[in-house]
């Protein structure tokens, strides 16, 4: 219900503490940082932008972790296949539908 896009803060606008310039793959716009005033972002931070306002700081750490989890989906699957290859059931003792 709300289009929001990640952008990187490239600079804070001199003379207006609430504005920062963000870059979205080569497109720049000044966005209002006022909604993040509890934890003001700095240049180099990534923020989620909606209607010209930064809504939240994006956590690279969480994103990396998500990617790891996602990569493991397949691995777990593979491990499972290997286990099956040895004719064993899943850890919980049930034969999972394949």
């Amino acid at each position: 219900m709300c289009l929001a896009i990640p952008g990187k803060i490239i600079e804070l606008v001199a003379g207006n503490p609430n504005l920062g310039t963000v870059d979205v793959v080569g497109v720049r716009r000044k966005v209002d940082l006022g909604l993040l005033k509890d934890e003001m972002p700095k240049p180099g931070d990534w923020v989620l932008i909606h209607v010209g306002f930064a809504m939240s700081k994006i956590s690279e750490e969480d994103a990396q972790e998500q990617m790891r989890t996602l990569a493991m989906l397949g691995e777990a699957d593979q491990a499972m296949q290997e286990v099956r290859g040895y004719g064993m059931d899943d850890a919980d003792g049930h034969e999972k539908p394949n």
Partner: protein
């Protein structure tokens, strides 16, 4: 990281889809509601249905602010642009939504000063640049958008900009979900929770769904991998007999939400006792009004608005579609009287509207494959 491409990686998408297939019980039919119209759009845009097992049915929810706005509100807002001193501003999303006497774009074609803005702050800038005119911002949106309007009004007050007002149509998502769950003809297994609204309200407000209704809800991002991962998380909960709130979209959504945004909203808005939603009727405490302290900037208090109520054309079944009871193509008007070129309901206008999404992305595909299989 760019936080976009990574989550569209074809190889990982294929893996995640395989995981979904592995987790489903083939003997069971699943009904998941994606609350947010952004998810509806993503599902069609990324062709996600092609990746999911057939027994997972995705039900489109009410989270499209344009779609749920009753026509009377549009008429009320547009009544103000009859005054040639008024500049009517709104997001591009509103521009083609039909009012009784046409859409904002049609009003513009007839001479009204109607402009598209990308941000409420752009509307305020327009007021700064046109001190002799009055700039009215037709605000729509859920809790994601409301804080931006709130902050803009706070700025207008600080700077004493008097030629600016907001026609406030902000709505809140939780009462809408409640209304859907109360609807007797609705059977759902789980919710895909709205990601961007949750950046503001956090994840706690959904806990009652799990507690009272015993249904899982996973707050989800909007990239293909986000949505697939959310479906994996839902299936794991269902398979384990659990029902809890999970946050798939951790990189963006803090569990507690955005306190500064909530404070700005609380300072400027208060809950309306009730508000009319298209198709869902009146829902109590489901929308925001501008507090009396900001009356000067409230278009509804500052101007005479007719306060009209317009009923939708009788055959239009927007309400049923919004509640997920009917699929878009099951509406009697779908693709006949109601098309993207001649929309009757807003669901056919907004790219988030399930009718428009279904019409442009899916309808013909299905129709054509039906013909193909019949032939």
């Amino acid at each position: 990281m760019r936080f976009v491409d990574e989550f569209r990686d074809p190889e990982i998408i294929t893996k995640a889809a395989a995981e979904v297939h592995r987790l489903v019980d083939p003997g069971r039919h699943y009904r998941f509601m994606e609350v947010c119209g952004g998810h509806t759009h993503a599902i069609y845009r990324f062709g996600l249905k092609d990746l999911l097992p057939e027994n997972i049915e995705l039900i489109h929810g009410p989270g499209c602010p344009v779609c749920v706005l009753p026509m009377g509100r549009i008429d009320d807002g547009l009544s103000l642009c009859q005054d040639s001193n008024v500049i009517f501003t709104a997001f591009g999303d509103m521009m083609r939504v039909p009012g009784t006497h046409g859409s904002p774009l049609e009003h513009k074609a007839r001479g009204a000063d109607v402009r598209i803005v990308y941000s409420p702050s752009d509307a305020l800038n327009l007021a700064r640049a046109n001190p002799d005119r009055h700039v009215m911002f037709f605000a729509i949106g859920f809790e994601t958008t409301a804080p931006s309007t709130a902050l803009t009004l706070l700025r207008a007050r600080v700077e004493g900009i008097k030629n600016f007002s907001v026609f406030c149509n902000h709505v809140t998502i939780i009462p809408a979900i409640r209304a859907i769950l109360d609807s007797p003809d609705m059977r759902l297994d789980a919710f895909i929770g709205p990601g961007h609204v949750s950046t503001v309200i956090g994840c706690r407000p959904y806990e009652w769904i799990c507690r009272n209704e015993n249904k899982p809800i996973v707050v989800s991002g909007f990239e293909p991998l986000d949505m697939l991962q959310s479906i994996v998380m839902i299936l794991r909960q269902l398979n384990a007999g659990e029902a809890k709130v999970e946050n798939q979209y951790k990189r963006v959504v803090p569990w507690e939400g955005n306190r500064a945004a909530l404070r700005a909203m609380a300072e400027v808005f208060q809950l309306r006792p009730y508000f009319e939603w298209r198709g869902l009727g009146f829902i109590s405490q489901s929308a925001l009004r501008i507090r009396d302290e900001f009356a000067e900037w409230d278009a509804e208090q500052r101007f005479q608005v007719p306060g009209v109520r317009v009923t939708d054309p009788r055959a239009a079944q927007c309400g049923e579609v919004l509640k997920g009871v009917l699929k878009p193509h099951q509406c009697k008007l779908f693709g006949r009287e109601c098309t993207p070129e001649h929309p009757i309901g807003a669901l056919m206008v907004s790219t988030e509207g399930s009718c428009a999404a279904y019409h442009s992305y899916e309808h013909r595909k299905q129709l054509l494959t039906n013909i193909q299989t019949a032939a």
